[in-house]
């Protein structure tokens, strides 16, 4: 599971001075659940997920993955994590098979286990046809399937997915969301960031609405509806954003 307490990240900007990308975030996600982080561009979603994936260090606050502190023990934490985002690119000069083999090796997996996991991934994600084609020649959808394969290869218990359907066609996007559901059924804990309301509504058990680095609301969709007296997630989202803007101004 994931536990986030008082997570804050402050950057220094030459023009603006100190800028809080995220400010005192608190949330948690249990195993077998999907936690959706919903917010517009620049809300702080990517920074939050980068910290959880040990790529960045918070200015203050803590984050734990299955009880492992991501700041104090990043190597151990990474064993538990599968991270996928728009910035996790793939090597164009390698085939999907070579890509997975490489990531299997650097994730400390034995060759036999890598081969077994690879076969499973190729089958489940329907990658058999292009497993030996160089990534540079693959379509966006095929690449995203490979990215998912790379992300789940070492069988992580926690998945951190940063806008995994961005730029995908409707069919590939559905393959991705279906696979995320399957991961949930397998008992994995999933953090899913998106700005697509319908996706969040369908997939997520809990939703945190983030804006300007702050969590404006957190809860199940029913709880959010009850709290705001609005039915539609999009309306709830804009209502919260407007209110927060009014408060900030």
């Amino acid at each position: 599971m994931i536990k986030v307490n008082g997570l804050t990240k402050i950057f220094y900007d030459n023009k603006r001075g100190k800028v809080a990308a995220i400010n005192n975030l608190n949330f948690h996600c249990q195993k077998g659940k999907i936690f959706g982080l919903l917010g517009p561009n620049g809300a702080g979603k990517t920074t939050t997920l980068r910290i959880l994936a040990t790529m960045m260090q918070p200015t203050c606050g803590t984050a734990e993955v299955n009880g492992i502190d991501v700041v104090n023990n990043p190597d151990e934490a990474r064993k538990q994590i599968g991270f996928l985002s728009g910035e996790t690119g793939l090597y164009d000069r390698f085939t999907p098979r070579e890509t997975l083999k490489f990531f299997g090796k650097i994730n400390g997996m034995e060759n036999k286990i890598i081969d077994k996991k690879m076969s499973e991934i190729f089958q489940v994600l329907d990658m058999e046809n292009f497993k030996d084609v160089r990534v540079g020649k693959l379509s966006t959808g095929m690449k995203q399937k490979l990215s998912i394969g790379r992300c789940i290869l070492h069988d992580p218990t926690v998945l951190i997915l940063d806008e995994p359907t961005v730029g995908l066609d409707i069919i590939t996007a559905r393959t991705v969301t279906e696979y995320v559901k399957k991961c949930k059924e397998q008992g994995k804990c999933v953090i899913y960031s998106t700005h697509i309301m319908s996706e969040a509504e369908k997939l997520c058990d809990d939703i945190g609405i983030i804006h300007r680095g702050k969590l404006l609301a957190i809860g199940t969709i029913k709880e959010l509806q009850k709290h705001s007296s609005l039915k539609d997630l999009e309306e709830i989202f804009f209502d919260l954003i407007e209110r927060s803007g009014a408060i900030n101004e």
Binding site: E87, R93, F102, K105
Partner: protein, 399 residues
């Protein structure tokens, strides 16, 4: 630190580099095809040019009053000279290359010769034109014969032999073995070449696997895997070192083949007896000294690559360092400069000087030790610097 992870990163980078056309061009095509073609081409065209000039009949204008017939006979009998007696705008024609030289016989030339005085001839030619230089040589040769004949005649008047005014003949004999000649030649050329080849070989790969990874977004994928930052840096650095050394070896091979081939430019410069006199021990010693230098160059390039946002930005940062390398290389091949004291702490300069010493057979263990220690120290610092930089999110996620 896990050696399997370093090996996996290293293998990934090497395979990636081999599959990159640009690396293949820098590593294989340039040293094995371009260098030999360049050297052989330069040699061929230089030979071709000089042959053409040698075969060309020089148009020479002779002007003056009462020109001794003897001089005219000499020039007329020379097949490679076409003597012209009267011509208009001769100075202009010399400039445009229509004629190759003008022989001006000074007034009272004949009288002065007969009276045993010194006469004057002015030879005008264009030193920037090969054909004009060839004409000058031909004319000087003929005038030298004429001069000796006059001397001989004058001496005969006093019953003296030519030896009377030639009390000593001097013969200079070069005792340098062909190995030493080769060593000196290689000592002059190789250190500079080795360093340039190492740098140019490392440059593209180092930038591609750092700034290139950032640009393509693959660096984040590496950072979320279970491999440590130090392992990433070591794996990448080893790959750059391998590519750089391979590129250098292929480059040296390419250049050696060109130099040893008959048409190479060195042939024209009198290195017909070019024998490779460098022993295996010297080569091993060269590699020992080269290794910390390659690690240093690779680490510096990796630091630049990690710092830069894009490959283009990295290339612009690398350019001044490349210029500095060329500058240090030029200093090292300058004649008469000896390395001492603090200069041994200047990485490229020290190696270049020590390479030169080894190649000419002057092995100085103190110099080798200082150079290796200094370069190893700097290489270690650069490697740690690269690893630290890989931990700095402000650098890795610089927008």
């Amino acid at each position: 630190m896990n050696s399997k992870n370093i090996k996996a990163i290293f293998s990934k980078e090497i395979v990636g580099a081999i599959r990159d056309k640009r690396t293949l061009i820098t590593m294989i095509v340039v040293p094995l095809i371009f260098y030999p073609l360049l050297f052989i081409g330069m040699g061929y065209f230089s030979q071709f040019g000089s042959k053409q000039s040698e075969e060309f009949i020089s148009n020479v204008v002779i002007s003056g009053e009462k020109i001794p017939l003897q001089i005219i006979d000499y020039f007329e009998s020379e097949e490679m000279i076409n003597l012209i007696y009267s011509e208009e705008n001769i100075n202009e024609k010399l400039k445009t290359g229509e004629i190759q030289a003008i022989i001006n016989i000074y007034p009272q030339f004949k009288e002065k010769i007969e009276q045993g005085e010194t006469s004057q001839i002015l030879l005008e030619y264009d030193a920037t034109e090969t054909k004009s230089r060839v004409a000058e040589k031909r004319i000087m040769k003929i005038l030298e014969i004429y001069k000796r004949e006059i001397i001989s005649l004058r001496l005969n008047k006093f019953n003296l032999q030519e030896e009377y005014i030639l009390p000593v003949t001097i013969e200079a004999k070069n005792v340098a073995s062909s190995e030493k000649v080769t060593g000196t030649f290689l000592g002059f050329l190789l250190p500079y070449l080795i360093i340039l080849l190492v740098f140019s070989g490392a440059m593209h790969t180092a930038i591609d696997i750092t700034a290139g990874e950032k640009e393509r977004g693959t660096i984040a994928t590496l950072l979320v895997s279970q491999v440590s930052r130090l392992e990433i840096v070591l794996g990448k650095c080893m790959a750059v070192i391998t590519i750089s050394l391979t590129s250098m070896i292929l480059g040296l091979f390419g250049v050696s083949v060109s130099l040893l081939s008959g048409n190479a430019i060195a042939h024209n410069q009198g290195f017909e007896a070019l024998k490779v006199g460098v022993s295996i021990n010297s080569i091993l010693l060269l590699f020992l000294i080269l290794l910390p230098l390659v690690v240093l160059i690779s680490s510096i390039l990796i630091i630049i690559g990690i710092f830069a946002r894009t490959m283009r930005e990295a290339s612009s940062y690398v350019t001044p360092i490349y210029m500095l390398t060329i500058f240090l290389g030029i200093i090292s091949i300058s004649q008469g400069i000896e390395l001492s004291g603090k200069l041994f702490f200047i990485p490229i300069l020290n190696s270049s000087f020590v390479f030169k010493e080894i190649l000419i057979g002057k092995i100085n263990w103190n110099h080798i030790l200082f150079t290796t220690l200094a370069n190893s120290l700097f290489a270690g610092i650069a490697l740690i610097g690269a690893s630290r930089l890989f931990n700095r999110e402000s650098v890795l996620f610089r927008n």
